[in-house]
């Protein structure tokens, strides 16, 4: 490929300042938020910063012509290597497309560009009594486009569902550069639900350039409680009991002792330092509903062995209790220079067992593992603490990670609840899927992107990349038509 000619053409589309190609400028685009070692970093050919759908489409067409892969990128907070350009393609960074185009308070929707920051959307529609429900812990930085691509979740997804439940329509630039609007199923909408397959497709099927999101009405009343426990087992049992009693809190988050040790001295959120685990429970709804649920939860916590139970008495106190949870990852620096954050999910009734197994892994590999996670969904986030500078630490972490993922799968669990597969967990896909399952997924990629130009070499493990599946498909077609390749 004539790199200079390609760069020159890119500049005619995005302008000189919209195209980065010097090594120093590209440095930040070699990474995302994932752990170096678990995910390979790679320098892209160039990074472009388009400001319109037309520019995105033109870049995609151009790259198609030059045979260069394209990789969409939001804020780069992804934790599975999704935004790293495999094979040195062009990064299309959508951060300059950050306008909220329309807010419709009657229908409770907003039309946004993909670079809008998650938290900023909720903040801007808050005064109109609405919020955008998916609230990843990275919400101060991550983009809605990234949320769509990863089908992101967050603490409040227990009650409100993950990103896919809040997307009504998308404008997408397909791998050949075509721009299409697609709708999610709704009244009167027939045909295939293309939004359902686009959400969570990790930038492999299309680049999202506009998003019609559903906004939720802000609840009338919100209570936040903190229950402390003498053992992790008791806390896990409490989670199972709350869910089993048919109560649906807005969120139900657990933090273990190690996390409390990191968080409390840093943020003084009021978590008891001697607790083995705390549960942060938020309930919302009408005043009467919230009163009833709160009373029920307090009773269940007591029955499950809670050593203390506290309810925030003011909005400020609620915020402080949440601050500890939201800043937990940042506080880990107090314990170790590096951490590897996992994201497995198990059925909720297997939580106790799984947490014990995580503890066993921590002992076996002589690793500190902190747990801070979406307990109500069974979505674990074991944080393995390490020091990259110590020789052997990274290897030990990777081995322990392997063990952890296998353990969670053996509990009936899955590889990822919200961070995606990317290049990080590609190699694990065969733990949960058969060759046929993966061939069917490759078929989806093939339908959208037969030449594998958009975010190639992600999600599907080696051997299921389109080339191979296509060869199988070709053979079958050929045989049917009585053609036998030489």
């Amino acid at each position: 490929m004539d790199r200079d000619a390609f760069l020159a053409e890119l500049k005619t589309i995005c302008g000189d300042r919209g195209v980065l190609h010097q090594a120093a400028d590209l440095l930040v685009y070699e990474y995302d938020g994932s752990v170096d070692g678990a995910v390979d970093t790679e320098r892209p050919l160039a990074a472009v910063l388009p400001t319109s759908t037309e520019q995105v489409s033109a870049v995609v067409r151009l790259a198609y012509r030059y045979g260069a892969p394209v990789v969409a990128r939001g804020a780069g907070t992804g934790l599975s290597g999704g935004a790293v350009a495999r094979g040195g393609g062009v990064i299309i960074a959508l951060t300059r497309m950050d306008r909220t185009l329309r807010v419709d308070p009657v229908n409770r929707t907003a039309l946004v560009e993909p670079g809008v920051i998650n938290l900023e959307l909720s903040q801007s529609v808050g005064p109109q009594g609405m919020f955008f429900a998916p609230d990843p812990s990275s919400q101060k930085a991550c983009t809605i486009g990234g949320n769509v691509a990863e089908n992101s979740g967050g603490p409040h997804c227990l009650k409100y569902g993950v990103t896919t439940n809040h997307i009504l329509g998308l404008e997408v630039v397909l791998p050949d550069g075509t721009v299409t609007w697609i709708d999610a199923h709704g009244p009167g909408v027939g045909g295939l639900d293309l939004v359902a397959i686009l959400v969570g497709s990790e930038g492999m099927l299309g680049i999202v350039t506009k998003i019609l999101v559903r906004l939720m009405p802000s609840p009338e009343s919100v209570h936040v409680h903190l229950a402390a426990f003498g053992t992790m087992d008791d806390a896990a049992v409490c989670v199972t009991n709350v869910i089993g009693a048919g109560i649906l809190p807005a969120s139900l988050e657990m933090m273990d002792q190690l996390t409390i040790k990191a968080v409390e001295p840093a943020y003084h959120a009021g978590y008891p330092m001697d607790a083995a685990a705390v549960l942060l429970v938020e309930v919302d709804g009408t005043g009467a509903e919230v009163d009833e649920m709160s009373a029920q939860i307090e009773r269940i916590a007591g029955e499950s062995g809670a050593t203390s139970f506290r309810s925030a008495q003011s909005a400020a106190e609620q915020e402080l209790l949440w601050k500890g949870r939201k800043m937990a990852l940042a506080a880990m620096g107090r314990l170790a220079p590096n951490y590897y954050l996992h994201d497995t999910v198990v059925p909720r009734t297997r939580l106790t067992e799984t947490l014990r197994a995580v503890n066993d892994i921590s002992q076996e590999f002589r690793l500190d593992i902190a747990n801070v996670f979406h307990a109500g969904d069974g979505n674990l986030h074991p944080l393995m603490l390490f020091d990259r500078r110590k020789s052997g630490d990274v290897e030990r972490i990777l081995e322990a990670s392997h063990e952890l993922i296998k353990t969670c799968v053996s509990m009936g669990g899955t590889l990822s609840g919200e961070h995606g597969i990317g290049s990080e967990k590609q190699g694990y896909m065969e733990l949960i899927y058969t060759g046929e399952d993966l061939a069917a997924m490759a078929g989806i990629k093939l339908a959208f992107d037969p030449r594998e130009r958009m975010n190639p070499e992600k999600v599907l493990p080696k051997g299921y990349m389109c080339g191979e599946v296509r060869a199988l498909h070709n053979q079958a077609m050929a045989q049917k038509h009585g053609i036998h390749p030489m």
């Binding site: 009167g188 899955t414 990822s416 069917a440």
Partner: protein, 418 residues
């Protein structure tokens, strides 16, 4: 009963009743040799939606794939085979204080697979969402015979492409669903329906839109009307005390709705079930179309529809203002397919609004484009169809008449081998 076996009034040439995914795949292999195609069926309660399929060579009756595979109430998840009757699933869940919040018509006949494959939701979607929101996994057999699964038994999962949600609402045109995994929800402690006197249709719709915008916890709200009159029904469900408070507030602040009657608990649930059954009942000589838009434009949309269809006797409109949906039903004699297209275009309805033809006489649905699928989405839908069912073995014509029968991908493939 012969009538029972007819599809759109015509008996299929043959019926097969596989008992497993493997058997389904074998049948598909066999068909390949015979160049025939299959119509998958569950309870056969919704076979008159979309394009007429014509004469069916093979009906594949999936009701043999019945039974609950895995149910752990404390996890709030269930795995169920696709041919299981809806009523059986709901009975199992209710015995544990759980449910799935949709009023499926004819639940003793309709199957879980059919409910997922049609993807219809009803007025409760306004607050409680649809079965798509609850779908966490599925096993299926593609049209080309490939047996696969996706998703799992956990409530959050982003491990690979979301194929189960793609199968939702695909009307059996990509794959045969053999089992699904669903999240379930705790049953509501209490429910109550408030019913109005006869009220003025046009105003009622606007009033109900206002109610659903100010009271976000209303479970469902409908305005069913014909001529100038309508009746309003408001469903409240949840915890007993909050519901009563909500009821009081609605009566106080929305007096113009004239909600003078109410139904409690089982009576309330039955009322909605009956409404669902009535709505989904196909009459040979009637056309039933669901039009969807947004709550803010529903009043206008309805006004334009009624102006255009003025004089069509006996037209009924079932409106769910909070979800932006109107289902209209009228005699087929009053509205043939060409006139419907005219109404659609002249009334300027196409801008953003969409429709699905739920029922219509066979002739009405034959030969012409019955789905309102935007042109620019079709090629990608066609490419997906091609991956799942390259030889169009499934549901030939139902959803795909107007879609390309070979995708660009296919042409490329053929070029590369010839």
């Amino acid at each position: 009963m012969i009538v029972e076996q007819c599809i759109d009034g015509v008996a299929p040439d043959s019926v097969v009743s596989p008992a497993s995914g493997r058997e389904i795949s074998d049948v598909l292999q066999q068909l390949r040799e015979d160049a025939a195609w299959v119509l998958p069926t569950g309870g056969s309660t919704a076979l008159t939606t979309g394009n007429a399929v014509g004469r069916v060579p093979v009906q594949m009756d999936l009701t043999g794939l019945a039974g609950i595979l895995e149910y752990e109430p404390a996890d709030l998840t269930v795995s169920v085979r696709a041919g299981t009757r809806w009523s059986e699933l709901i009975a199992t869940l209710s015995a544990n204080g759980q449910t799935i919040p949709i009023d499926v018509p004819f639940p003793e006949k309709a199957t879980v697979g059919g409910v997922v494959a049609t993807g219809w939701a009803g007025p409760r979607r306004m607050r409680d969402g649809t079965i798509k929101d609850l779908l966490i996994g599925a096993s299926y057999v593609r049209g080309d015979g490939l047996i696969a699964k996706a998703g799992g038994m956990v409530v959050k999962n982003v491990s690979g492409f979301e194929i189960p949600r793609l199968l939702h609402g695909s009307y059996g045109s990509l794959a045969m669903i053999t089992s699904v995994n669903l999240k379930v929800i705790p049953s509501h402690e209490s429910e109550l329906t408030l019913l109005s006197e006869r009220v003025l249709f046009r105003e009622a719709v606007d009033d109900v839109v206002r109610l659903t915008r100010s009271e976000a916890t209303v479970a469902a709200a409908v305005v069913d009307g014909s001529g100038d009159d309508a009746e309003i029904a408001i469903r409240l469900s949840g915890r007993a005390r909050p519901i009563r408070e909500l009821e009081d507030r609605i009566r106080l602040e929305h007096g113009q709705l004239q909600l003078s009657n109410s139904l409690e608990e089982a009576d309330s649930a039955q009322w909605w079930q009956r409404r669902s059954d009535t709505l989904a009942t196909a009459h040979d000589d009637r056309v039933m179309i669901e039009v969807g838009s947004t709550p803010s434009s529903i009043g206008n949309l309805l006004k334009r529809l009624r102006e255009r269809l003025y004089g069509a006797d006996d037209a009924k409109y079932d409106v769910s203002p909070g979800t932006g949906s109107v289902t209209l039903a009228l005699p087929a004699a009053a509205l043939d397919h060409a006139s419907w297209q005219q109404v659609w275009e002249q009334a300027g309805l196409s801008g953003g609004a969409r429709y699905v033809v739920f029922h219509a006489p066979r002739a009405w649905r034959s030969g012409s484009q019955v789905w309102s699928i935007p042109e620019d989405q079709r090629s990608i839908m066609g490419a997906l169809k091609h991956q799942f069912d390259p030889e169009h073995r499934l549901n030939r014509g139902r959803l795909w008449d107007s879609l390309p029968s070979t995708s660009p991908t296919d042409l490329e493939t053929m070029e590369s081998i010839t």
